[in-house]
Subunit: 484 residues, 2 copies
Amino acid sequence: MAPPKNERNQVFLGSFIHSKKLDELEYLHNTAVCVDKSGKIVAVEAEHDVEKNLDTLYSKLGWDASNVDVHSTKEGQFFFPGFIDTHIHAPQYPNAGIFGKSTLLDWLNTYTFPMEASLKDLTKARRVYGRCVRKTLSHGTTTAAYYATIDVPATNLLADLCLALGQRAFVGRVCMDNPDMAPADYVDESADASLALTRESIAHIRAIDPDYALVSPVLTPRFAPSCTRDSLRQLGALAAETGLPVQTHLSENVREIELVASLFPEADGYAAVYDGFGLLTPRTILAHAVHLSEAEAGLLARRGSKVSHCPCSNSAITSGEARVRWLLDRGVGVGLGTDVSGGYSPSVLEAARLALLVSRHLAMPHQQPGVSDADRERAKLSVEEVLYLATRGGAEVVGLERRVGAFEVGMEFDAQLIGLGLVEEASAGIKENEGQEDGGEDDGNVDVFGWETWEEKVAKWVFNGDDRNTKRVWVKGRLVHTRV
Amino acid sequence: MAPPKNERNQVFLGSFIHSKKLDELEYLHNTAVCVDKSGKIVAVEAEHDVEKNLDTLYSKLGWDASNVDVHSTKEGQFFFPGFIDTHIHAPQYPNAGIFGKSTLLDWLNTYTFPMEASLKDLTKARRVYGRCVRKTLSHGTTTAAYYATIDVPATNLLADLCLALGQRAFVGRVCMDNPDMAPADYVDESADASLALTRESIAHIRAIDPDYALVSPVLTPRFAPSCTRDSLRQLGALAAETGLPVQTHLSENVREIELVASLFPEADGYAAVYDGFGLLTPRTILAHAVHLSEAEAGLLARRGSKVSHCPCSNSAITSGEARVRWLLDRGVGVGLGTDVSGGYSPSVLEAARLALLVSRHLAMPHQQPGVSDADRERAKLSVEEVLYLATRGGAEVVGLERRVGAFEVGMEFDAQLIGLGLVEEASAGIKENEGQEDGGEDDGNVDVFGWETWEEKVAKWVFNGDDRNTKRVWVKGRLVHTRV
């Protein structure tokens, strides 16, 4: 079951928008992006005169025109890099939107552990995971860093589904062997058992995708309180032995931080717990990092570990407001996570929107006494910046910054085709049936009147866009989602 | 052009969900709601055995079965009261999502005034207003309190469109006669001119809908800084003379509050400015009220004036976090406003979602030094509470609490039919085309697996729902929107 390949070379023609740097989008119009059979971008020809130059382009690439698929776009559509969800719990997908007024620790016991435990039933797991992967693809998520459950067959099934459906993924069997922090029916038996099961799942993924071309394992200690010292130590050693990425949670909630301090009194702060076991590597993804100290941010920067910012989750379960600018200023890489189902939405676009709004909450007058007006103003993230976090920032967080996140020669083609709705001139803006008029496409809630700049169109997409605007999605050059 | 009426009586059968009180939804299943030709609810028969009892019901009502339309629902669908948008600027609709990093005062000058001024062009106004009314209807907004522009013909056109498209609306010509706070081409010439134009627009609405059965004028001083004392005084007198509702802005932004203090040094606070001119009536809608003092909240409560909470706007343009619980505790009525385009979305459901999230931001640990842990916890709004604000709360704000907001005998039938997506058992949750599989309906992003309680289904709708879930919309018993 190797990852499927394309039979033909491809040329994508139209407008391409991607991040040049943190605060700058690049707009490439009348452009041709050439993608070879392996899914790699081999040419980006800006301001290309389509009619005249395709043959020249093919001969430069040594391509035979009869073996090239050409994808043109409609007016107003544009290609954007696929989104990268750096933190999502696939088994919690059915709970999206269900959390009441809970915060982290009671939310885990009330909603999360029972749902995760129930996915031992592989029929249920197939239904939930299949839906989750399809749904995130439909929102333009081309790469996802998944937490599965403690169960190996269900974890392996998630990896199989990602491979079959064509989503780039990191799939982690969840390690949790501290019986004081888990229900009796949902806990690893021991540190040794936890490690053995983790190795089993790694072996499965290596068997189905030997080069981790699409799907990779990721070591996944749930969070410090869930794991014994022995388990954390063994996982740190496994990270060193295999070079595999690591994902876990850090400093999400004030009560959780107090709990960590009581469980690991020897460590100088939450981040230091992981560091003590060799779990802060340049390939470590730390979800949340809301309440970090200066010393902890410095430690992350030195280790090269990255942060997955999850604004929907942090707002919904009242965890706090992560200081993204503050982290970036300290040299810590940041991407976005949906954190389903602490986060209510599987959409990275929603996470980008909320990242911008949360940064405004940090900029409000009463916030953080002691922070200067200028620093509060700087906390605000722009549309350009949250789109960077959703693409290149996320790529850096999952260690794929040279392979995905932009339209550059040498990168792989992970992309989404975006189409926005145009409000007609003629009929007074009045359509009989919103949505699917003329039996045609439903372009959702982004209304373009025609006078907007490209920057304004992108802002409208970020604020009112949804999966209806994501018309097609490609991973490694392979079409993995089409909206009728 | 009187408001259209239905020719026939109607029975709606199925599940009905509405607010019983602030923190409680009532679930009425197997229920029949009977609506007469005038759009009034004349019977609510809960746990109705449809087959057996319809004839009994008709004879009780004195209805002839041949003159009744029966509306049944599909499994899983439910009726919900229409949403009430207590604050929306129709002319700003094309700017939704466009605000950069601006805050109130620069946002007005950069984005808002130029767009509003341009709608003097009635062709453009028709396109924008038509789209705005259609779009808000498609999101389930059955009542909207609109700000138009200073231009009378364009304002009258908005009223005409609401009447023709069947949306219950308050339509206000914007009064702004302070030349220091407006562009030279977008300002009333004088206080007298401002009042005369306002009377013109009132006369037009009285001509098209004499009883204000569907569309009503509303006195609309933009906000204190936009108006001279003379203008505010005349508008206060007009409110007393006509008994018409009033809408304006209050205490949105810290700089704005400083500006008001400098312009009206004689008043003891922002709310007192309006009170001094007789503009705080029981029919006054005050948008935002983010930074009120105890004295101001007390003044609003004594006057019976109400607050339109606009969480999307307050977050997006960094105004602050309005303390809804604090206002309710002080006896001030609160509803929700989208505040397009300070708010980025025309959806009241999005405003409800954001109201819940903003209340979480108020509950975060570092917030508001001096507020106790218990009070912070109390600040959180539940799913039930934000849905109350979106319906009954809004009805109270616009003075329609006895006419709309719930399914009760004597109220008018303003309702939406909600349908959620059911994830199939069979195909492993994998559908080839998300969205419009089988050429059928697109149920959007709410995924129901079948094991959820009704409370959980409603929570899923609040967090992942959008206009795709609003299948049909009725105002006064008249079908005004159908999704394919």
